[in-house]
Every structure is written in C-alpha cells, then in structure tokens.
C-alpha cells in the first residue's frame, strides 16, 4: 500500500512586479509604477495572505520581482508585517529570502528585513563592470553592488546570494573572470551564474535582431560557463545546480521545491502556484490583478492538471538541473514506477552518447550532458 503523502505546498513565492526601471534583457513581470499603485498592490497581496492563512505551513518563503526593495520603507514594513501577521512566515520558517537590487537598499530597509525574520538575501549584481551594466540597462554601478553587499553583511545577513550574468555582447572571457573574482572576493554563501538569454520582445532582443549588437559565439559562452564552474569549485563552492553554486549547507531550499517539481503557492500578479497537482497562474497585468483580487474575482488566467506521464517527464526535466540528479526512490514513490522503466529508451540512448549516467539509483547529467542540457531534457518530453 502506498502511503498517503502530504502534498500541501511547503514553499511560498511572493511576486513584487515593480522596478525603478525595466532592464533591457528582462521579460519577467515587472513595471515602473506610481507609489499609490504599489499601496493598492500590497492591499491585494494582503488579501491573498488572508486566504492562505491557516491553510498551509510554509517551510520557505521567497519574495522576488521585479525589485522588492524598490518598495519604500513603510511599504516594505507593511509587506513584511502582514506576512508575519497572517502566518506566512514565523520563527520556524526555514528560509525566508528577499531579492534586493543594488542602489535600492538603504540601511533602514536592511534593518527592516533583518527584523522581520528574513534570513537570506539575493542580490541582483549581474556584473561589476560599467560597460556590461549599461548594456543590460541596470541602474547601478559595480561599486553600488559592492556597497549593497557590505551594507547587508553589516546588517547581519549570513546567507547572501550574488546573481551574475555572463555572455553579454562584447564581453570577453577575461571580463568574466574579473567579475567572478570580485564576486568571490566578497565571500557570498551562494552564487548564481546565468547565461544572458535574448528573450522575445525585449530591447536587447530587438537590438540583436537589428544587428545593433551581436551575440557571443557559442564556444566563448561555453568557455565562460566552464570557467564559472572551475572558479566556483576551486573556491569551495558546491556546483549543485546548473546555474547555482553554494558553500556547504547554503544550497537554496526554496528553489529546490521547483527543481523537484513539488507543490508551491504563489502570491501576486503573474505568480504561479502548483497545488494538488494543479498548476495555476494569476493575471499578469498589475492593475487587473489588483482589481480582481480586491473585488473577490477569480484572477486565475491559466490552469492545468498534467496527466501522470507528463508530470513524470516534467519532474525528470526539472530535477536533471540538480547535479545529484533524480532519485529513483523519490520517483517511484511519486509515480509508482522506476525511472529506468519509464524512460528506458531515452536513458539507453543518452547514456550511450555519454550525456546522462544512471548510477546509485540516480539519473543525472554527465559533464558533457550538462553543457547541452536542454537538448538532453527535450528527449524526455
């Protein structure tokens, strides 16, 4: 008999879709809005907290954006207060992350975060070099990023992530090595390195289309990625996920729920939830979202329940991002069959090509497979 497992969401994501200015590469849900819109938005978020109250117990909470730290001090305080008030976070919350962008964090805001149970900060540094920051459309300098990091350390945060982007137009391998050096020199507990992606309908993609800029050769990007892995591991970081490095014990707990395709709840405009096998998303438009929530309308614009087979495939695709791979035991418990039974052909073919390995009851990407992960993953869909 299979045990009835607790599948209620253990992770909560709160989306703050506001920024000082939209970045050139960004296609996330973010806008530049008037302060009173933000206030009304917080009303809506609070309303959602109220609905979730006493229903779930979250192990991790993640406030992302946008730029959560674009909220002024009183707005930020109000958001954090209500998260505590409605029981979204408590002393028992294992990980409470807030995303912060350089030049938007004041000492007062840092203290607010610290006083409201936030125990992890993720800083959107992207680069320490002005030419690349300008290209990306960031509002801050490299020094701003260092200052913000120092300020947060001083405020008492012992778990800080630094986000970096590589593969900017015109970036050299040497540039990238410098960025890595500076970042690691700050001794963050966690580093994320993302290859720049040209998302449709972004200013950067248009520039590429119009040949104003040209993308880096794939081989250079590959070298950059390999360099990040070498730098990270040489400096005592564990390369535990495709884009993520952490000192031992500082792996992101929240993202782990996504990677393992487990349940999570989402609050805010455009936020996704995955509860009881049903995936939903809120209205993306900030004003429609606010009106909808405040008038008690259904703001769900997307809903799907995947059949088991597709859900299994998605679980493999997501979990392969983790270097330790997919555990057969977890897979069996969830889908009632062995991973190598379900995906016999794919595993056979991909192992023969040296792209995946299946050892110790774990299916994982080999180093060769890591570099072409998308192509490998597509085989499971």
């Amino acid at each position: 008999m299979r045990m009835i497992k607790d599948t209620s969401p253990k992770a909560l994501y709160i989306h703050i879709p506001f920024c000082v200015k939209r970045c050139n590469y960004c296609d996330f849900n973010s806008t530049v809005s008037a302060s009173n819109t933000i206030d009304r938005y917080l009303d809506a978020v609070e309303r959602e907290f109220e609905t979730l109250k006493d229903r779930y117990l979250f192990h991790t909470v993640y406030i992302g954006g946008g730029t959560p730290t674009v909220l002024n001090e009183s707005q930020l305080e109000r958001l954090l207060d209500s998260a505590i008030h409605y029981g979204m976070v408590s002393d028992n919350t294992r990980e409470f992350t807030v995303e912060a962008n350089p030049a938007t964090v004041t000492q007062a805001k840092a203290r607010l975060l610290k006083d409201h149970l936030v125990n992890r900060i993720s800083i959107g540094v992207q680069s320490f070099q002005e030419k690349h920051l300008k290209m990306l459309g960031r509002i801050h300098t490299g020094d701003d990023a260092k200052d913000t990091f120092a300020l947060l350390r001083k405020a008492g945060f012992h778990n800080i992530n630094v986000d970096l982007i590589f593969g900017c137009p015109g970036q050299t391998l040497n540039d990238w090595e410098k960025d890595l050096e500076v970042a690691i020199g700050l001794y963050p507990e966690h580093v994320s390195t993302y290859a720049l992606t040209y998302e449709d309908d972004t200013p950067l993609a248009r520039d590429l289309q119009n040949e104003v800029i040209s993308n880096l050769d794939e081989s250079v990007e590959l070298e950059m990625y390999k360099t990040a892995i070498t730098y990270g591991t040489d400096n005592g970081y564990n390369h535990y996920e495709i884009s993520n490095f952490a000192k031992s014990g500082y792996e992101c707990v929240h993202n782990n729920f996504y990677w393992k395709n487990l349940s999570y709840a989402g609050v805010g405009a455009g936020a996704f939830s995955f509860i009881n096998g049903v995936r939903t998303a809120h209205e993306k438009n900030v004003l429609s979202y606010i009106d909808g929530i405040l008038q008690n309308n259904d703001t769900t614009v997307f809903r799907e329940r995947l059949p088991d087979a597709q859900s299994a495939a998605e679980t493999v695709v997501m979990s392969l991002r983790l270097r330790k791979g997919v555990s057969n035991a977890d897979f069996y418990e969830r889908f009632g069959c062995k991973i190598d039974d379900r995906f016999r052909d794919q595993i056979g073919n991909l192992s023969r090509e040296g792209l995946v390995s299946y050892e110790d009851e774990h299916l994982r990407l080999t180093e060769k497979g890591l570099f072409v992960a998308d192509t490998v993953m597509a085989e499971f869909l």
């Binding site: 993302y194 081989s219 996504y258 996704f272 997501m318 597509a378």
Partner: protein, 581 residues
C-alpha cells in the same frame, strides 16, 4: 430503333474558359434537372474534383429536347480541361460525333484550345466553334475569331456567340448540335459493340461502366463479354444519366449510358475495351485507347509510419477511379514504408521524377522510375530521358522571356507562329524532367499569367545524365538522390548541400553533408555540433515556460525521419526540387 434523334457531343476548352458553366446552362435549358436540384457545376461529381477544383472525371448526361415537333436525345459527354489530362480528353472524344470548341472571348485561343481541337480533328469529330463570355467587358470576339481561323482553320461564320452566364445564344447551340453533328451511324441489329469510355466504383452496386453503344443493343439479363479482358458478366441494370442515373430497359446503338453487371472490381474493367454479347460476339473490337503510361513518379510516404494503411486505402480509391494512376509499395531506408506513385498528388514527399530508360552494357533496356534503380555507372551504355513537345501560346512581348526560360531548361527551339499581331505560338522540345515540377508556375509568372502551355510526349532521347547522391554523415540517403544532367550536376550538388545545411538543425555532433556522383564527392558542407544549449533560469516557478521552450525545440521532430542519428525534416526531402531558389 433509329438513331436519327441522337447526338453525341462533348465540350472541349482550355481550362477556365467556362466549360462547366456552359454544361450547367445546357442542362438547365433542357430541364434535365429541376431548378430545385440545380446546383452549380453539376458535372463535377467526384469528391476529388471538388477538392482540387478541376474536372478530371468524364461524365455523361442525356439531354431531352424537342425541335420541330421531334424529340431529340443529346448526350453530353464531359471532358477534363487540365493540361495533365490529355489521355482523358481523348477517351471522351472517342464516344462522340461532335464537339463544341469553346473559346473565352476575352482570353482567346490558348495552348489547350489548340491541343484539344487537334485531338477532336484526329477523331474526325464535327467541330462547332463557340465564342463564350460575351458578357465580359473585355470580350473581343472578332479578334478571337481571327485567332481561331489562323490556328485551327476555323471558318469565322460557323462560330456561335454565347454568354453562358446570361444564357444569350445558348439556344443556337442546340440547333447547331442537331443540324451540324451527324447522328451516330450504328447498326441496330448487328451484334453488340460498345465502347467503355469510363468506369466508377460504387460501394453498393459494384463497378458502373460508362458505355457508348456503337452497334446492337444491351438490356437487363444479357450476358456480356469484354473483348480485351475476355471476361463475361450478366447485366443487372442499364440506364442513362440525366444527370442522375435513370434506369432503362435497353440501350440502343448510338446511345450513351451506363451498365451495371455485378462487376466486383475496377481491375476487371479496362477503359477502352469493347463490350459485346457473349453468345453472339462482334467480329472485331473497336480501336479503343492505348494504355496510359505514367510518366511522372514520386515517392509518397506517411509522415507517421502508423498511417501506412490509411495512405494505402486513399491511394487505392484514387487508382480505382483513374487508370492512369498507378502505385506500388516501396521502402526507403530514410523514410520507411511508402509508395511510388505514377501521378502527382498533394502529399508528395520525395521529389517527383520522370521515367528514364537505360541501355545497359549487356544490351538490356530497363525503365527507371526511381533514382534508386539506376545501375552502377559502368553498367550504363546509354541514359535516355523522355522528351516532350511543348507549345506555348502567349502575348508576343513575352516571346523573348519564354525562349530564354525554355533554353535554361535544356529546351530545343522548334518554331514560332503568330496567331495575330499580339499573340504567338512558340514550340520547344524539352526534357520532361525539366518541366514536371515548377515549370508551369514559373512560365505563368514570367508571362504575367498570360502564357499557356500544352505538351505531348514525343519519345526517349539519349542524354548525358548522372545520378546525384546525397550523403548525410557518410550515409547515402536514397530519398535525396536525383538524376540530373552532367553539366548541371556540380552546381546542383553544391546548392543542394547548402540548402540541406539550412534545413537540417544542429545535432550534438557534427553532421557532414556531401553530394556525390558515384564515388566522387563534388560538394561538401558541415553542420557544426551544438556546443552549449542550456537555459540558465528556472523562471520563478513558471515551469510551463521551460516546457514550452523545450517543446518548441522538439517541435517538428515528429515530422522528421532519422538517418543514422541525423534527424532530417520532411522539408529537406523536397529541397531537391527547389535548389534554384
């Protein structure tokens, strides 16, 4: 029974000159169908025809008409008007004594007008020239009559002027049919002699054969005998088309109608065969038709191998209704199970090719309808290709353009004749292989739609041909092989591998594309391996995005065939056709 009251005729015209509209008008005027039943373009009754928008199936309909107190039966036998259906036109003509030669008064004489008129003359039919579409503002009947006189020797005074749309002049057609076309000269009491000019398969009744009775008569209960297939059947029903099937007791000499005789399969019936009585057989058969010889072949494969049987059923249905369509199963290493079809239909997968003749060094002559069957170079003494005589009718200002165009396709200039100051007939001999694919469309656009084309097969001629092979990662892909002229081989090979380079997506390994003649590689391209393909972000819980991304990447993969480890999209298999673009 006398045949004095019977007339058998057909309408011949260039495509789009209004044949179906005129036929409808004739039906309507004779009250052959009630206006309630009237449906535009009654004679196009096969689903396929509607799908393709052209008439390919000959049908027949009996029109009843009273003139001067006498009742006449006018049998209208429909003919197709498309350039590819010469064979069908010919078999309809065999059942008639006369033809309405329909010419659009705004378009004038076109290539198929000439071709069909000559065919009718060869069959000794009485020709009634009809100038149509007089209602159009751009109508120019006098000029068109001059063109008809110049090209076909038609007396302008014999021409009738009509507008099928308004009905103007249509009555005069009936008079002309009765007065000018001779009644059929059958001998009523001679042994039965009837021509099968068409046949269709009906799920419930079996094969329905379309007959033109030349001598004698046929009635229910008769035992008939097919002189060519040497088989006999018992007649269950005879009748005429009005245009629906109407049962009659008997079909007499001179009449056109149908016969149902418990014939299970269309393969038991040969169009062009002569039907006679089993007991009292005719001394000799009617001349009949020469068997249609498919000249153009292509491979047709289901995109999904599981649909193989569906494809087979579809092709069988088509072949039942058209004996010029043939198909046989074939297997391609690259594409799996499919069919080689002697016709050009919508789901073409491999490039169509013509049937070649090869004289081997051992003096054996083989027919090659698939590049795959070309023997090794050292066994070929002579490579021969089919050649056609193509006539273009076009405005004089495009003569130069079309000449240049035809010469680029290895055309041999024969003649230029002027229909009028403005229009000319240009005649070229061209390899069939050069015109089967895009020739017609290219010619149309080169002449801004004014040029028309008709062609006849004239024979096989030796040519310096070679088989061009394509190798994908060292593996020869049979479905990409083509037969080309040696002088074009290198350029085509280079263009083809370049084109394939764009069609085939990158793999995790380098893909090498080569074009080769025998063992000699004449062109090479390579598709470099994917070095890095990894999406950094996981999009804050929006897994659907990741999935969409990966699915997009996988998209179309289902429509690909893999050769070795290389996935080749379906589009690539047709790229051999359009290397020039």
């Amino acid at each position: 029974m006398s045949t004095e009251h019977i007339r058998n005729f057909c309408i011949i015209a260039h495509i789009d000159h209004g044949k179906s509209t005129l036929a409808d008008r004739l039906l309507e005027k004779t009250h052959t169908i009630s206006s309630r039943e009237f449906r535009h373009q009654m004679l196009d009754d096969m689903d396929l025809e509607r799908e393709r928008g052209i008439t390919i199936k000959a049908s027949a309909v009996a029109l009843k008409l009273v003139r001067n107190g006498k009742e006449y039966q006018l049998n209208l036998i429909d003919t197709p008007g498309h350039v590819d259906f010469n064979y069908e036109v010919s078999r309809s003509l065999g059942a008639c004594e006369g033809a309405l030669l329909l010419v659009d008064s705004s378009q004038g004489v076109e290539a198929q007008t000439v071709a069909n008129a000559y065919l009718a003359m060869e069959h000794n039919l009485t020709i009634i020239p009809v100038i149509s579409k007089l209602d159009l503002p751009q109508s120019r009947p006098d000029e068109v009559l001059v063109e008809m006189e110049k090209t076909l020797g038609i007396d302008p005074h014999e021409a009738l002027r009509v507008s099928a749309k308004t009905g103007e002049g249509v009555d005069a057609i009936f008079d002309a049919v009765i007065e000018r076309i001779p009644p059929p000269k059958g001998i009523a009491d001679a042994p039965l002699k009837a021509l099968i000019f068409d046949s269709v398969y009906d799920e419930y009744r079996g094969v329905i054969i379309y007959l033109r009775i030349f001598d004698g008569s046929v009635k229910v209960g008769d035992e008939i005998y097919m002189m060519k297939t040497k088989s006999s059947f018992k007649v269950e029903e005879v009748g005429v088309f009005k245009p629906k099937m109407v049962v009659k007791d008997c079909l007499f000499a001179g009449e056109v109608g149908y016969c149902i005789a418990n014939i299970k399969s269309l393969h038991d019936v040969k169009v062009g065969d002569t039907v006679t009585h089993n007991r009292e057989r005719a001394a000799e058969a009617l001349p009949g038709y020469r068997a249609p010889m498919p000249m153009v072949y292509c491979g047709v494969y289901p995109a999904d191998n599981a649909d193989f049987h569906l494809l087979r059923e579809a092709l069988e249905r088509l072949s039942l209704n058209d004996s010029s369509f043939t198909f046989e199963p074939e297997t391609s290493q690259a594409l799996g199970f499919g069919f080689r079809c002697g016709f050009n239909i919508n789901i073409v997968q491999t490039a169509p090719n013509v049937t070649y003749e090869i004289l081997k060094t051992n003096k054996e002559v083989i027919r090659v309808d698939n590049p795959e069957k070309v023997p090794p170079v050292n066994e070929i003494e002579e490579f021969r290709e089919p050649v056609v005589r193509a006539s273009f009718v076009l405005p004089t200002e495009y003569v130069g353009t079309v000449m240049q165009f035809a010469e680029g396709r290895r055309g041999r200039y024969k003649s230029t004749d002027y229909l009028s100051e403005k229009r000319a007939i240009l005649v070229y001999e061209l390899p069939l292989a050069e015109i089967i694919f895009d020739f017609f469309d290219k010619m149309k656009s080169a002449t801004r739609g004014y040029g028309t084309l008709d062609y006849d097969f004239i024979g096989y001629e030796p040519a310096d041909l070679v088989k061009l092979d394509i190798l994908v990662s060292e593996k020869r892909v049979d479905a990409l092989s083509t037969i080309v002229h040696r002088k074009d081989a290198e350029i085509k090979g280079r263009k083809l591998v370049k084109k394939l380079k764009n069609e085939i997506s990158r793999h995790l390994f380098e893909v090498v594309l080569q074009a080769a003649i025998g063992s000699r590689v004449i062109a090479r391209e390579s598709i470099r391996a994917i070095a890095k393909n990894v999406t950094a972000k996981c999009y804050g819980g929006d897994i659907t995005r990741k999935r969409k991304l990966l699915e997009k990447q996988k998209e179309g993969k289902k429509r690909m065939k893999s050769v070795g480890n290389v996935e080749i999209p379906q589009k690539a298999f047709l790229s051999v056709l359009s290397v020039d673009e």
